[in-house]
Symmetry: C2
Amino acid sequence: MVPPVGRTAVRRLPEKQVHDRAALDAVLDAGLVAHVAVHDDGGQPYVVPVGYARDGDSVLIHGSTASRLFRSLAEGAPTCLTVTLLDGLVLARSVFESSMHYRSAMVLGMATTLEGPDQVRGLERVSEHLMPGRWADARQPSRKELAATLVLSLPLVEWSVKVSDGPPDDATDDLALPVWAGILPLHERYGQPTPAPDLRDGLDVPEYVRGWTRR
Amino acid sequence: MVPPVGRTAVRRLPEKQVHDRAALDAVLDAGLVAHVAVHDDGGQPYVVPVGYARDGDSVLIHGSTASRLFRSLAEGAPTCLTVTLLDGLVLARSVFESSMHYRSAMVLGMATTLEGPDQVRGLERVSEHLMPGRWADARQPSRKELAATLVLSLPLVEWSVKVSDGPPDDATDDLALPVWAGILPLHERYGQPTPAPDLRDGLDVPEYVRGWTRR
């Protein structure tokens, strides 16, 4: 249990903050895309979606050595990585109390670059998080591809997690209103795989792909 | 048609950049949650998920007057608002070319605070984007609730849109590999509405809620 401290402490709606590390891991392990920020010399922030994976006590992201975002992160720019899972709409009797069910994890810090065997292992970890079983089946990265790729590790030291769930929280005076209230859940599902137009004959969708599910 | 200029020009994978305003509107109109960044005096960025709506040539967001993010934005902090729709996984023959189908819109700028009738109209716009038909049914905000709410408008002046679609883009040498390749689409769906435990008798799920769909 690592309670968030200082600048990651949730000041708004603190009742939604969750302090245990297992909750952080659960959110990070359930998402596919993180939103990562850096700012330029003029103080303008940029928020970019990236694939990621949790790897023990770190979050790994990978990108091109030609990416400004990744170059900036590799140089030690302070960053924030946020993963949000949207779980539903909360329909309260009042517009004011209407909101969303969500789980959101925020990680602050500075990333370091993984090199050598750690770089390859990091890529495998991200690949296996997003597409479990694929690493052993697909062609693994060449030296040239590795040289064009930055794999960055952001430690899970300064973080916070917020979870919004439960029924609508209407004011007592609103409970008598003739307005339906409740939760409309939101799910993510994989559809039917579509083969590449230039797929070789005789190749079926792999069993490991058929086993992938969302929430 | 407003082509993105300067700092929103996409340098990485520029072939994925889409320059027409209709594409921007389509992404913003399809999403529910944006990731919004500000940074503190020490240069630490923060990325926070927020509900939003496009309103003509602006994006509107709303939050509490007690929120550091919203107060900072209301004071004119430069921000970046990014909306990402994840549409599927791209399974290439190589790990290197494996990626995702997505649509992502980034808006840079400074927000202004909506006041008076504009504030109420802005809240209605956000509510109707997320929950169409709800504004007329639910209890609308009181003066006290309005006083606790900031509604901010970010103009669609400096923006970029990236769209990744199409089949895997494997190197010619990889096409002969015995590896299945294709697209695994990802969909978002609403589930069955769950009534609030303290719902008054005799209220059914409204027709307008039953009509809500995702992608």
